[in-house]
């Protein structure tokens, strides 16, 4: 594939990433002598030292052990099933890493440990009635509970069908199990099998492509794989040009860039 090795078409490979301050001053952000307010203004004014910005320049990424790769919510067994399942949904291939190498299982674990896992910004008040499809999810279970049940059922189904745990199945058998869930061929009483599968699929993509700060998209390899530049300050110079590959930057780069 043409876009594999991230060589740019028109020389935007090494587009310099100026510091935010420098960028804003150069871009003439003081409009007609008036300093534009907000985020810009505070950047143009004499810089306040960003106390919390991580030190960069010393050790390389590889030197730094990633301490956040440990589960906050899943048991080890659950983590194993999630790892196997998400890798089937988003497998490693010639184009690049799959869910496992990107850290997707830890991403999902960390998400379930927080607000998202508790559905805390969603309407969870009773009464609960089964609704029409067009009305959306109407269950009383939170996402973390749905995951617990869904993973247990994946395991049960694998044991019943193949007398082995999900993680020990051959890849094709794992696909078969996942398909049975996706199509609601497996009938569950407490949750919808397809609903659980959908959630697993969408959180796999989230883990592959969200900012690495959340524990997935390791080293921005998800972004690199599809030539996505991540978090850039500006595309003014490239917007009217043809496609070019730009080396990605993350929110951490953003934080330390000024």
């Amino acid at each position: 594939m043409a876009d594999q090795n991230h060589k740019g078409g028109s020389g935007h490979d090494n587009v310099e990433q100026p510091s935010r301050r420098k960028f804003l001053v150069q871009a003439g952000y003081a409009v007609g002598g008036v300093i534009v307010g907000g985020a810009l203004g505070s950047l143009i004014r004499p810089s306040k030292k960003t106390e919390n910005a991580p030190q960069t320049g010393e050790g390389t990424a590889a030197d730094i052990k990633s301490y956040n790769r440990a589960p906050m919510f899943f048991t080890q067994e659950q983590l194993g099933i999630v790892s196997a399942a998400t890798e089937r949904i988003f497998p490693a291939d010639d184009a690049g890493p799959g869910a496992l190498a990107l850290g997707v299982p830890f991403f999902i674990d960390h998400q379930l440990a927080g607000e998202w896992g508790f559905n805390s910004r969603e309407y969870m008040s009773p009464p609960f009635y089964a609704g029409e499809k067009v009305q959306g999810y109407q269950g009383r279970l939170k996402r973390r509970e749905m995951f617990e049940i869904g993973l247990r059922e994946l395991e049960n189904y694998s044991q019943t069908k193949f007398t082995k745990g999900f993680s020990e199945l051959a890849a094709e058998q794992q696909d078969e199990v996942l398909k049975a869930f996706e199509s609601d061929e497996v009938k569950l009483t407490t949750i919808s099998a397809s609903g659980f599968f959908k959630m697993l699929r969408s959180s796999t993509l989230e883990g592959a492509y969200s900012d690495p700060l959340y524990g997935g998209n390791a080293d921005m390899n998800g972004w690199k794989m599809r030539s996505y530049p991540g978090n850039q300050m500006s595309y003014t110079d490239v917007i009217d040009k043809d496609f070019a590959v730009i080396a990605p930057s993350s929110l951490q780069d953003h934080l330390s860039a000024h």
Binding site: G37, G136, I239
Partner: protein
């Protein structure tokens, strides 16, 4: 007992675009205004870490907390309405600036046809063209009367654009030139021109160049950062209330904003409002803010809820078709589109801006002959480049598996080889589409949720198919290797994002029988209450709503000042 605060001239409920514009206009004219906003304070400094698709795009950081308040939904009166428990179809604003903070900035004027839709339809096609149950009506004022207000909003926001060759007459050009054209936009323009259509650059509230507006507010140019819709603009380049109207109002010293204030009732006596009752959500305390004039700018759903909870205006009854509060709810028909996959070409679609696009109106309004078509009105067709963020955008050609090896290979391959031409279809009101109060579900303060009864109609199904056919013709001319287009609209469902273009419920018009407010957005039933926003639209056009919301807010401001001097009904 609620504590009563000192009286003010005007109290505004909800501080988004509509509330912000009115606050600026009234305080500049010397009135004392209190703005009550249920959400929190906001400033551009909050957006340092805003280029975060997960937090803002998918976890809805800037939107209303649904655990406190949402709507219930049913397709028809025959089924039980159930809460929209998580976000899908539309995203509600909350906090200073409202949805004006996380909008795209696509800023279209409605067509002259829109304002006189009923008369013009009958005039050209006869009465039978309007199907049973379709409750379209003229707006009570014409495009020519609206034009000066559109012009005001566009100058306030600094809209970047070029005249629409098929649009209404303009008294002035857009204040700033169009945005830069990306290669994808050029391909669309060229293809459309070859097909003898009339493409033009989408009018944009993302500034194409630095701009100082008539209030002396200076803002910087858009950086095409691709984090616009659902995000705040860290540069202040996207026009929003926080960087435009609110500083103007605050500078007068006559505007007080109280955040974390959930307004729950409009208090009234003898056909006139006396103020509002609200809850300070940080303490739970109930407070009364007396005022001479009450302005309700809390978006469609809450505007309707406040009227119904306060017993202002006659509630709509779908059985008899009488009453006005809750009537003529409409939405947007956005699924008529064509997706193009290009095997031999890549596009820089990782870059973009909320309103970077090219549009055409050849199939919008009554710009084409509907004699043999089973719908009225139409929709704008555009190619927009808002920035394809990687979680939400994994397009694959139809027939590709939705997960596994094949999905991954195709989604990576087409990540930068995909363009979409979309139709933004208008939506007509029907007698059985409406808003009222839910009998079962309550918000965090014990008040009922708003209940939405809505589905797509035959008109919408025909329109969506028609538009997707036209989109596919253009995409073909653009040379896509593979095109997927809509086969069937299907029922309205609340689970996938379509647009936050909800309209109606407190509609405007020339008669109190079919409208709740007059053309100054003044309530027929309470002369010192003004209800402003897309809730006033009697139907929804084939465009995004905010230029029209902004224009109506200017019109309402003028009305409020007139009322302040003369009193009584303004029409």
């Amino acid at each position: 007992m609620a504590k009563t605060l000192p009286k003010t001239d005007v109290v505004i409920v909800g501080v988004g675009w509509a509330g912000g514009i009115i606050a600026a206009e009234l305080t500049k004219s010397g009135l004392n205004v209190v703005g009550l906003e249920r959400g929190k304070e906001r400033k551009t400094e909050d957006y340092f870490m805003v280029h975060d698709e997960l937090r803002y795009g998918l976890r809805y950081e800037l939107m209303q907390d649904l655990s406190k308040d949402t709507v219930t939904f049913r397709s028809t009166e025959k089924i039980r309405a159930l809460p929209m428990r998580s976000y899908g179809s539309f995203l509600l604003g909350e906090g200073l600036g409202g949805a004006g903070v996380h909008w795209n900035g696509q800023t279209y004027r409605f067509l002259p046809y829109d304002f006189e839709i009923r008369s013009k339809t009958i005039e050209r096609y006869g009465k039978n063209k309007i199907p049973d149950g379709m409750t379209i009506q003229d707006w009570g004022l014409t495009y020519d009367e609206m034009e000066p207000y559109y012009d005001k909003f566009e100058k306030l926001a600094g809209i970047s654009g070029e005249p629409n060759p098929l649009g209404g007459k303009r008294s002035a050009d857009y204040p700033t030139p169009p945005m830069k054209k990306s290669p994808a936009l050029s391909m669309f323009s060229d293809a459309a021109s070859k097909l003898k259509l009339h493409p033009y650059m989408m009018p944009s509230a993302n500034l194409s160049e630095p701009y100082t507006n008539p209030d002396g507010i200076s803002r910087a140019a858009c950086q095409y950062c691709a984090f616009c819709e659902r995000f705040g603009c860290e540069y202040g380049a996207k026009a929003d209330p926080v960087v435009t109207v609110l500083p103007v109002a605050l500078k007068t010293g006559k505007f007080e904003i109280r955040t974390h204030s959930q307004v729950r009732r409009i208090l009234h006596q003898g056909g006139k409002a006396t103020g509002v009752m609200y809850t300070d959500v940080t303490t739970g305390e109930e407070l009364v803010q007396p005022a001479d004039i009450v302005v309700v700018t809390s978006y469609v759903f809450n505007n309707v809820k406040l009227m119904l909870m306060s017993g202002l205006g006659k509630p709509y009854d779908p059985a008899s078709g009488t009453g006005v509060i809750g009537r003529n709810y409409a939405y947007q028909v956005l699924k008529g589109n064509a997706a193009g996959f290009f095997d031999d070409k890549q596009f820089n679609t990782y870059a973009g801006a909320g309103s970077l696009g090219v549009s055409l109106d050849d199939y919008n309004g009554d710009n084409f002959d509907h004699t043999d078509l089973k719908f009225i009105h139409g929709g704008s067709i555009s190619l927009s480049q808002t920035g394809m963020r990687p979680i939400a955008n994994n397009p694959v050609p139809g027939g590709t598996a939705s997960w596994g090896a094949e999905f991954k290979a195709n989604s990576v391959k087409y990540a930068n080889r995909f363009l979409s031409v979309g139709g933004q279809g208008s939506c007509m009101p029907f007698r059985h589409h409406f808003l009222d109060l839910d009998p079962t579900y309550k918000d965090a303060y014990g008040d009922p949720l708003v209940r939405l009864t809505f589905d797509f109609e035959e008109q919408d199904r025909q329109l969506a198919l028609y538009l997707s056919g036209k989109c596919a013709e253009i995409m073909k001319e653009m040379g896509a290797s593979h095109i997927d287009q809509l086969k069937e609209l299907g029922p309205y469902e609340i689970t996938t994002y379509q647009s936050t273009h909800n309209t109606g419920g407190v509609v405007m018009g020339a008669s109190p029988d079919t409208s709740a407010v007059n053309t100054y957005l003044q309530m027929w039933d309470a002369e010192n209450v003004f209800v402003v926003g897309a809730s006033a639209f009697p139907h929804n056009s084939g465009y995004n709503p905010t230029d029209t919301v902004g224009a109506l807010a200017f019109r309402a401001s003028e009305g409020i000042l007139k009322y302040r001097q003369k009193g009584g009904s303004l029409v």
